[in-house]
Symmetry: C2
Subunit: 133 residues, 2 copies
């Protein structure tokens, strides 16, 4: 049984989906929760690990296939993977000697939804402020 | 003339859009660039500031209207706003006494696209690994 440490985003939202980010001021609690997920993504090694896991045909990657891509020790890689897992972005399963990782697409779907502008709502003009001055 | 310090994401991509995150391993350079943007989002005060700016009717907010929402000094708020601006998430314009901020939706659009799964490509199953063990 895998130990889940999900960050739960917006379970009590009206649409059961996502806290508003672009359409309403975020409250402190949700900002804290969401910031932890973005912080997990705010590191180049973790982004590379996530992309390697997410893009793998078959949906999962052995940690033994991740480590050689980096000039980092296995404990360091494992630490980064732990942070991605704690953020709810990936899950892991030990089978025999190795741990296998896979994307939890629910979380990336939620982040994508949070960052997507509502249809028909152009928030601002596209020209940079001051461009015409 | 506003001083732009945009992080440029994936301008040389085939579709002129976004570096792959979920469909192909991210290279080191792009991971560094993208991590800076996510790092800017990885703070609850900055997320709240971004949501206040993005959701404001009219599309821009005076810094004088942002500061009172926080138990933080104006220099601290200005520092957080500077980091959001350096990440290409917001822009600013000084008019008279005050600085006005607005969302740069191009960047949130790009992040949303990066985090969106390609159509018809269910990357993994939704049941947590180990749930059946």
């Amino acid at each position: 049984m895998s130990k889940q440490e999900f960050v739960v985003l917006g379970q009590d939202d009206a649409e059961g989906c996502c806290p508003a980010l672009l359409t309403a001021p975020l409250d402190e609690g949700r900002a804290e929760t969401l910031a932890k997920v973005f912080k997990a993504l705010g590191d180049p090694v973790r982004l590379r690990l996530l992309s390697m896991i997410a893009s793998r045909a078959g949906g999962e990657v052995c940690v033994c296939d991740l480590t050689p891509a980096f000039d980092l020790s296995q404990p360091t890689i494992s630490h980064h993977l732990k942070l991605l897992k704690q953020a709810g972005l990936i899950d892991s399963e030990r089978r025999g000697t190795w741990v296998y990782y896979r994307l939890l697409p629910q979380m990336t779907d939620r982040l994508a939804a949070i960052l997507t502008r509502p249809a028909g709502q152009p928030l601002t003009e596209t020209a940079p402020a001051g461009a015409a001055s």
